[in-house]
Symmetry: C2
Subunit: 341 residues, 2 copies
């Protein structure tokens, strides 16, 4: 994988830390890594009482390090999204064993008693993946080589990351030169690099996006995870800066046909597909005049087979581009539409 | 003035610190404060060699404090935008005299030797005006009482702040209940409150904008300083978040008719007035469906009288709203257009 310049960078492979978690819903990060970064996950490690099973060899940090692991990744979300005090011993032991510690939780790793000292002793990194790199540039706006496809959405949390991962996988399976590019914390853990764009200083959003998908070979595709929505009353600024810095040639509109209101902002309706496509194309063309909608990804998880099929046909007819659900349908048409004739 | 909740807050009146500056171009902050916050500027203070003359009484910090000053504001920009080491003695003396210290320069005030201790001793604040408040909320998107007019632009640095200040002054002169609301550092010093929205974490841009113009009396107008431009390849995310959080009823498009390229991004053209008006209205309507363009402010400083007049007539004809140059023309028509019938 061509590493992006100026992004957070993780050392792979990983041992996935599962604490004493028993609820699989609190282990979404671990399952996501196992599913989407399978070749980078070589072990799991639990505390007494933990029951999450990823199907990976169970190894103490030292044994995982001996087996080749470079980082211990916290794969579960404890109550409040914070690191419990009693994890400190295990985390210090992992650092002492030569493992980087990687966390997407709220507690800064530096603040855990003894951990910074252990990391300094062992020469390992403590990586809070939500924390952006210290020195981000302002966006240059200059066109760069390589091709880019960006996920954009009618709301947050409706499948933009999943769509990007599935498309990157399908493109590589067809022998295309393609990489998933991460713009949020789980994506960064999967890709091993990226920037949580919603956490950067406002002046640098587009600059961070330029770092996430730097110049590349002319035939290379960056498949870029989206964030937020241009139709979201709180987060549209993040979405627009990410779009401008990404300079996408192609846009995939992600949508959940069962959703009529913005999640947690119920006064705001989800936009119509045509309105959404129009505004995304118009704004993307500032930094790439050739930007065009090439597909629509529907999250049909709440629909039965027949209703899902109807929704896909309807979306395809409305927008004139291939519609797909990465969990349900083949992606050949979408990939062909991205790559073009 | 109805103080905004959750913004940076400055204590007025000010003594303006001019260092040893001799170049008026490096004292724009001081001149701006003298011109736009005249009632809040009661003294100036210089170091040996300084020649900037604001026409204010020259007073040492202690004498300024005795005369009623509450804050010493750094009003000049030294080389590199940093505070020279030899200013420390004067700044410490000012803190010891009971003055808050206010700076828009890059050097954190906390880092100046002895200053944090002096501030703690004297119980005064050190205010880096570019630094946002620690706890900003995410935007709620909920409509709030009061009326708002937002400055939007075809580029950065073409008169959005000046236009907002001039309009707020003209509205108050007509007896309207109106306040300038600051979104950048000089504006914050003038208003005594505000948030530098380009310096907040990306997720909180619109939330910061909601704090800058909180709920107010039904007949009250916030006149909101703009930042960046939706047509700027680096900063459009800031502009969009600010627009959404501001929920403007009325938009003033600010433009420099002599500018054809985005400053420092010469590959990017300045948009046409109609295109700009269309995108600002469309995006503003997400959070305020009644948002509409009500005026166009032209910076005609590079044109002679006849050319300026032509440009104003042309802009008015193109957009169908009153055109004005706050440095050259009366603002009655613009104010009438903002307030409506």
């Amino acid at each position: 994988m061509n590493q992006a310049v100026g992004t957070v960078k993780l050392r792979q492979p990983y041992v996935l830390f599962l604490g004493e978690e028993t609820n699989p819903l609190k282990a979404k990060t671990a399952f996501g890594l196992r599913d989407w970064a399978a070749e980078s996950c070589i072990a799991q490690t639990r505390l007494a009482g933990g029951t999450i099973e990823l199907g990976l060899p169970e190894r103490e940090p030292a044994a995982a390090a001996a087996a080749g692991a470079r980082s211990l990744v916290i794969g579960v979300t404890p109550p409040g999204g914070r690191i419990p005090a009693h994890w400190a011993r295990m985390l210090v032991a992992a650092a002492d064993a030569g493992l980087d510690i990687v966390s997407g939780l709220h507690t800064p790793l530096e603040s855990i008693p003894g951990l910074a000292q252990a990391a300094a002793r062992a020469g390992v990194q403590l990586v809070d993946v939500r924390k952006p790199p210290a020195e981000l540039p302002r966006a240059t706006g200059q066109r760069r080589s390589g091709k880019r496809v960006a996920m954009v959405g009618t709301d947050c949390a409706l499948g933009k990351k999943y769509t990007a991962l599935a498309l990157a996988k399908a493109m590589r399976a067809q022998g295309l030169n393609a990489d998933f590019r991460a713009t949020g914390q789980t994506g960064i853990m999967i890709a091993g690099a990226g920037i949580a764009v919603d956490a950067v200083i406002a002046d640098f959003i587009a600059g961070a996006a330029e770092c996430i998908s730097p110049a590349n070979a002319a035939d290379h595709w960056d498949v870029i995870e989206g964030q937020g929505s241009l139709f979201h009353p709180a987060y549209a600024g993040v979405t627009l800066g990410l779009l401008h810095g990404s300079q996408p040639d192609a846009l995939i509109l992600c949508h959940d046909p069962s959703r009529t209101r913005i999640v947690s902002w119920p006064e705001y309706p989800v936009p119509g597909l045509k309105d959404a496509a129009q505004l995304y194309e118009q704004t993307a063309r500032l930094t790439n005049p050739a930007a065009r909608l090439v597909g629509v990804s529907l999250n049909t998880s709440s629909l039965d087979e027949a209703a899902a099929e109807q929704a896909l046909v309807r979306a395809e007819r409305e927008l004139g581009v291939p519609a797909f659900d990465p969990l349900r349908t083949r992606l050949d048409m979408a990939v062909a539409s991205i790559v073009g004739p």
